[in-house]
Amino acid sequence: MPRRPGALPCWLALLLALGGASGCIEAPAVLSPASRGGDEVLQLTWIIFAIAAVVFLIVTGLLFYCAFRFHAGPDAPTPRQVASNVPLEVAWTVIPALVLVAVLALTVRVVRDVIGPNQAAAATMHVRVVGHQWWWEFQYPDQQVTAANEAHVPVGESIEFQLESDNVIHSFWVPRLFGKTDVIPGHHNRIYLHADEAGVYRGQCAEFCGLQHANMRLLVVADPPDRFAAWVQAQKTAARTPIGQQAQNGQRIFLESTCSGCHTIQGTPAQGKVGPDLTHVASRAEIAAGTLPFSPANLERWLIDPQEVKPGNDMPDLHLDGETITALVAYLAQLE
């Protein structure tokens, strides 16, 4: 029953045809879970979808039948004035009720399995997720690692994500790993992600959180245990010393200008806490919470005018000259 990635059911195919879409569409994220519990939810999804589809076919079938079979001209004789039929009416009250009781029973079973009390005990690791406007901070208290917009987890383990916000409500959503859980100021929501397959999973804020809600994306990277350990090790170490004249200039500019007021680079005096920690910014796949892929060119674009790339974000347009930007890019691109 559970579908694997790539198994597009025919109704989706129909839709794709409707939209004139070609092969560029990947398997729906929600329908290709890669996490423990995900298959169970998916199975439930298919069951209720099947029930809904059957009901839809029956009712629309009846509608079309009526429209064609009983369609009559203006001179048609008056039909018999039948106004009720108690057994029928009881039947279409009781049967839907029974179907819904069954749906409810299935729902309760899956809810208990998926968010039952055993979850917390099974967790091997904690990640504190802080939703900012508009980026994600990931703190690994046990590993003493702070990352931004890209969380690494070991595959095959249950990881507790503690969701916190000191600003507005966000919602943490990585469709292939789990459904949404809101990140609410004053609340301490927890979810447990258990990636079964190594891979990079796209996530995104799902609760409208202001101007740049659209550009509040994240990645969860599920690594095999050894690679995860290597990642932790790399993230724990202080930032690399810049190599080359330009990068060294870049570091000097970074530390002397306003950059360091907002960003932290471990191993340097830059300890700002407003924006993402940049100690290992070059190890990440994206910049500005998934707004742009990481590349020196995009970094340059960002530094030329962050407000043009992601209007409204907290980083002001610093009106840097070309030379300064080149130096900063050279420095940041080395921070792996």
Binding site: A21, I25, A83, N85, L88, E89, V111, R112, K180, A206
Partner: protein, 630 residues
């Protein structure tokens, strides 16, 4: 020459204008409601098209985030508070007194007040565009995004105060409906003989009365948070952002039924007439509407399955939400049974009614799907929900509004809408609507969240979005066809006569359009279909009905109403005088205007608040003193 023409023309135009401005006639107020709200629908529709154009391709720069967020907020706010809710009130205003054989609403001046408050409230909300920007926090306005530190601008205050105004308008309106339906029914019209549209308007009025205060309170607390720093919604101050969600959805979910129950009522009028059969299971359809109304207060937290509610609460709200599907299913099966073995006349109205059943069904089924909690964790706040709610609000309520428009246009204007253009409208609407919204289910499953002003090209969302934009344009063309139809038919439409559809409820017993006093006499009400009884003396409903068949006699008319109706005039046929209807008055209008001025003052200057309140007091006094003793 020219001067004389103007001199003679001017007073006539002016008085016609004033006749509308100062009217207390429920039919004129109904028409004002219908026209005003449809204008807001067009504005909301343009906003929808702008959103669709922005989302047509990935990384689009047509609209920035600021504009997009304002537009989607105003789209939702407009469509719900300024269009769907009040247009159904407009239908109710026009039709309920006619359907129950009354001369007007119970409180004609209050009715007028409700209308002007709606118009001013809507204009008030839209002036925010001129005053530095419209609200941009979504129609649901989740705290704490709405509190001052995250939204320092005036736009949120416009939104709060606008909602308060519209709340007063709809609460006043629902009191009026309750009093009218409970108190002014024609002799013989027991509850079991009321047209279903009246039944559903009654339930809706109760829901509005009970649900609206929750929103008003929520918005008032937000206002206090913003201006007095009370901290109801601020975790740091000991409040809780979730309080807003509970209060908002305690209003918001009954609101969904406030928007759909009158639509059920319209469908329950249209389907029988065009099937030439009485509504199947009248009592079940009526009582299931009552059941839906009751249950609608028990399901609010199904909007909040992702906030971290305890397991037991999630299961309770899943169960209560699924329960609503039962009375809804009852209605759908009853409509189909009404068509079964009927002789169907597939007019534009009937097409829309059948389309309503099919499309609303999709919304209902996806509604059950999202009541399944683990699925909802994935679906909520994704495009799946956008699809679901548009199948309910557009596939449901909006199609019913179109069905009602084609059905009652002849009664309101005396002319029919063109059926040929009507069918074009039907086709464009069905194709455009489904092309716009059905793929959104898939988009949600592909992981696209709601309320994003842009998206990256990589997740494969682009072709679907593009198709949806094409669908939205088709839908928009359909609306244009409808507008052309309305304006053409107003002048050249086929004359309708009193009863163009050979229908059965009392509104068809009077002229089209009806005279200011509605009826001199109307047929006796001895069943839910008084005109059927009149036209089919050999087979009247009351002979077949199970329980009482007491003869109701309307306003001194003879039971034998086969005779031609007496000429309209200011007295009943037996010479007894008509009860006086309030004449033209401007006090309620002045009161509404003064209240709005006072609220503008809240945003501008305290002197204006004071002036507004003084004038409001004066208007209230004038209103009360102009009340004639009975």
């Amino acid at each position: 020459m020219a001067a004389t023409t103007i001199a003679t023309a001017a007073p006539a135009t002016q008085s016609r204008f004033l006749a509308w401005v100062g009217t207390t006639d429920h039919k004129r107020i109904g028409v004002l409601y219908l026209c005003t709200t449809f204008a807001f629908f067009l504005i909301g529709g343009v906003e929808a098209l702008l959103m669709r154009l922005q989302l047509a391709v990935a990384d689009n720069r047509l609209l920035g985030p600021d504009a997009y967020n304002q537009i989607f907020t105003m789209h939702g706010t407009t469509m719900i508070f300024l269009f769907l809710m009040p247009i159904l009130v407009g239908f109710g205003n026009y039709l309920v007194p006619l359907m129950i054989g009354a001369r007007d609403m119970a409180f004609p001046r209050l009715n007028m007040f409700s209308y002007w408050l709606l118009l001013f409230g809507g204009l008030f909300l839209y002036t925010s565009f001129l005053a530095g920007g419209a609200p941009d926090v979504g129609w649901f306005g989740y705290a704490p995004l709405t509190v001052t530190i995250f939204s320092p601008n005036r736009n949120i205050d416009f939104w709060i105060l606008g909602l308060e105004l519209l709340g007063v308008s709809s609460i006043a309106g629902s009191i009026n409906f309750l009093a009218t339906i409970l108190g002014l029914r024609a002799p013989g019209m027991s509850a079991g003989r009321m047209p279903l549209f009246v039944w559903m308007t009654l339930v809706t009025a109760v829901l509005t009365l009970l649900a609206m205060p929750s929103l008003s309170v929520a918005a008032a607390l937000l206002f206090l948070d913003r201006h007095l720093g009370t901290g109801f919604y601020s975790a740091a101050a000991g409040g809780d952002p979730l309080l807003w969600q509970h209060l908002f959805w305690a209003f918001g979910h009954p609101e969904v039924y406030i928007l759909i129950l009158p639509a059920f009522g319209i469908i329950s009028e249209v389907v029988p007439v065009f099937s030439r059969k009485p509504l199947f299971g009248y009592y079940m359809v009526a009582y299931s509407g009552v059941a839906i109304g009751f249950l609608s207060f028990l399901v609010w937290a199904h909007h909040m399955f992702a906030v971290g509610l305890p397991l037991t609460a999630q299961v309770f709200f899943a169960a209560s939400s699924m329960t609503i599907a039962v009375p809804t299913a009852i209605k759908i099966f009853n409509w189909i049974a009404t068509m079964w073995h009927g002789t169907l006349r597939l007019t534009a109205a009937m097409h829309f009614a059948i389309g309503f059943i099919g499309n609303f069904l999709i919304g209902g089924l996806s509604g059950v799907m999202v009541a399944v909690v683990p699925f909802d964790w994935q679906a909520t706040d994704s495009y799946f929900i956008v699809a679901h709610m548009h199948y309910v609000m557009f596939g449901g309520s909006m199609l019913a509004v179109f069905a009602g428009a084609y059905y009652w246009f002849p009664k309101i204007t005396g002319r029919r809408l063109s059926e040929r253009l009507g069918i074009v409208h039907v086709l464009l609407t069905f194709v455009g609507f489904n092309l716009t919204f059905f793929p959104m289910h898939l988009l949600g499953l592909l992981g696209m969240p709601r309320r994003v002003y842009t998206y990256a090209p990589d997740p494969g969302w682009e072709p679907i979005n593009f198709a949806q934009t094409v669908g939205a344009v088709i839908l928009g063309v359909g609306v244009l066809v409808f507008l052309v139809n309305v304006f053409r038919s107003l002048r050249t439409g086929e004359r309708a006569g009193n009863d163009p559809w050979d229908a059965w409820t009392l509104e068809w017993a009077t002229t089209s359009p009806p005279p200011p006093w509605n009826f001199i006499t109307h047929p006796p009400v001895r069943s839910a279909r008084p005109l059927w009884d009149l036209k089919h003396p050999e087979d009247p409903d009351w002979k077949r009905s199970r329980s009482d068949s007491r003869v109701g006699v309307a306003h001194g008319s003879q039971v034998d109403s086969g005779q031609p109706s007496p000429p309209p005039g200011p007295s009943y046929s037996d010479g007894s005088p008509l009860p006086e209807l309030p004449e033209r008055t401007y006090w309620p209008l002045l009161l509404a205007a003064a209240l709005v001025a006072a609220l503008v003052g809240v945003l501008v200057h305290v002197a204006l608040v004071a002036a507004g309140l003084v004038v409001a007091g004066y208007a209230l006094l004038g209103w009360l003193l102009s009340e004639r003793p009975r």
